[in-house]
Amino acid sequence: MSTLGAEAVLTRPGALRRFSSLLYVRPRLLLLFLLVPPLLWLGVIYLGSLFSLLAQSFFYIDGFTGQIVHELSLRTYAELLSSRANLDVILRTAGMALSVTLAAAVIGFPVAYYMARYARGRVKALFYLGVMLPLWSSYLVRVYAWKLILAKEGIVGWAFDQLKLTWLLEGLLSIPVVGGASLSVSYLGMFLVFTYMWLPYMILPTQAALERVPLSLLEASGDLGARPGTTFWKVVLPLAFPGVVAGSIFTFSLTLGDYIIPYIIGSSRFFIGQVVFLQQGTAGNIPLAAAFSVVPIVIMAAYLTLAKRLGAFDAL
């Protein structure tokens, strides 16, 4: 009986069936088939081109000929760090990234908390839609829309005017450094647009982390005498922290690398992304562009090390 059954199976050796049996016997082979295409993509095309760019930063431009000298040297880095203007660009960009990240965390956390803890069914779907909808429309369209919103004759100015608060807006714009002629050409306006753009990237990981905190932990904290504020600082925030850090990696690195928003919304003061764009394009100084693009990587590495020190990944 049993041999008959076995023969019945064996007499239909389709190629596909033989292949799937092979994968069943050798699970590692399956893993190989699944991993090779993405690894090729990530490893060769993505990381490979990134490293070849970074390698350029160790070459330098000959000052007389304007030709790239293919010789390992730290000359380009010396050029990068010795120029006051370059350091300003780095500080300006990092400062903006930090402010945007903090603002996104502060604005995003309550939204994420509401989504994770209270919103159910339709309301939750609506929130997801609300958070992600902006990502579905063109980035450029949204930036130009903000340009109009923040312009002197735009809706923000109009609203301040209607509320008889023009003095407040003008007061804000008269603050040195962050102010400017109008919101659309000031750091303040750029900060608003950056925060708007990257907010979804902060909300979603934070919400996912909060979602994983069981309600019973909050109840236990209250049961043991902790008021809601204490529960927040001692239980909710530490457990959601990895999510906030994940979100901040997005907001921080996206701000560090962006060159379109500073170009459209900002003044003539450059950000890292713009300098990279200009150096490798118009100026043709690829080594300096490459050295500039190393800066965000170094900043992110330092940032992650700090986050790890703070215990951001302990609860993972």
Partner: protein
């Protein structure tokens, strides 16, 4: 003496569902009180009302004579051992146990000293440095217990605390918990769906069904004298004989229940003791259970009787019946529990 916990006609509704409906009960100070019932019977809601995680829609909850309706959990003198233990994963065992001390801003050395003491109480001394994730289920359960006891609450609430443990560990923890309660002298309110656990541990227990209390009493009371068919069926195994068969067998015009172990298998022609009820039936099923053997017997009118016979003389000794055979069964008239006349709850 003022009751440790008193419910006065408490109801809690979730939309249309009446989680608990007009429940009144009193838990005495220092008592081990169990709340027993199937899932969704309202026992956990009762516990959450005492803890303050829920608020009554009607009625009042009192803890040691004080109305707590408007008092949030963090201002109540009760602590809870959660079903999933709810240990804080980002803190060490010691910090978990000392959490309530940290909240009350007790100095660090004092916190550590008391935490170590509490850990000793649950026999986990020296494990304070570990993370909860590094402990076994039974150890986590003890940490949750130590954390809830460190404040010496006036009432300790336990929500199916042994539910996640395997049988052997559960039995051991039952004994330990009971001993611990005697030692610390704190009122325990213990929620469980395990009738054996409720019977073996509690001083008194309340049997819940569909948001109401069916019966409150000592374990002996509940087992020997179930007040309703539900209690008879839920607590232990029980045979319920409905009228008119009840009149024929035991001479009562109401339904009665009889425990399987109270039914004897009668030897043929053996002389009958006084006040004995006798019925004949055909064996349907025989289950050998080790210490005892269970017989499912069909008697007249198609009614079924479960009979439990101790294997104290070996399983094969005496009247070992096989399926299909006819048996003569008998039990003392005094062993039956007559049900109340009309059970409006069953009808409603």
């Amino acid at each position: 003496m003022v009751a440790a916990v008193r419910f006065a006609s408490v109801s809690r509704h979730f939309g249309e569902v009446r989680a608990i409906d007009d429940v009144s009960l009193e838990v005495a100070d220092g008592e081990f009180f169990a709340m027993l019932g199937p899932s969704g019977s309202g026992k956990t809601t009762c516990l959450r009302l005492i803890a303050g995680f829920e608020r009554p829609d009607a009625g009042h909850v009192h803890i040691h004579g004080r109305n707590v309706d408007g008092i949030p959990p963090y201002d109540r003198d009760v602590n809870t051992v959660f079903q999933d233990y709810a240990l804080f994963p980002h803190m060490s065992v010691r910090d978990n146990v000392a959490y309530s001390l940290m909240v009350r801003k007790v100095a660090r050395e004092e916190r550590h000293r008391q935490a170590e003491e509490a850990l000793e109480l649950v026999r986990l001394a020296g494990l304070g440095e570990r993370r909860p994730a590094a402990l076994s289920g039974g150890q986590r359960q003890r940490v949750a217990l130590a954390r809830a006891l460190i404040n010496h609450p006036s009432v300790l609430l336990l929500d199916e605390p042994l539910g996640a443990l395997d049988l052997k560990l559960r039995e051991q923890m039952q004994i330990e918990l009971k001993a611990l309660q005697r030692k610390v002298g704190i009122t325990f309110v213990y929620v469980t769906h395990d009738q054996q656990e409720a019977l073996s541990m509690s001083d008194r227990l309340a049997v819940f069904n569909e948001g109401r209390i069916e019966q409150i009493g000592t374990p002996q009371d509940i087992y020997e004298h179930p007040a309703t068919p539900f209690v008879a069926a839920f607590v232990g195994t029980s045979n319920l004989i409905e009228p008119p068969l009840a009149a024929e067998i035991a001479g009562t015009d109401r339904a009665f229940s009889i425990r399987p172990e109270r039914i004897r298998i009668l030897e043929e022609d053996a002389p009958l003791p006084q006040a004995y009820c006798v019925v004949e039936g055909r064996v349907e099923e025989v289950q050998y259970l080790g210490a005892s053997t269970r017989y499912d017997v069909v008697i007249k009118g198609g009614a079924r009787l479960v009979v439990l016979r101790q294997n104290d003389r070996g399983a094969t000794a005496g009247t070992a019946a096989r399926p299909g055979e006819t048996l003569r069964l008998g039990f003392e008239r005094a062993a039956i529990q007559v049900m109340p006349k009309s059970n409006d709850r069953e009808a409603g």
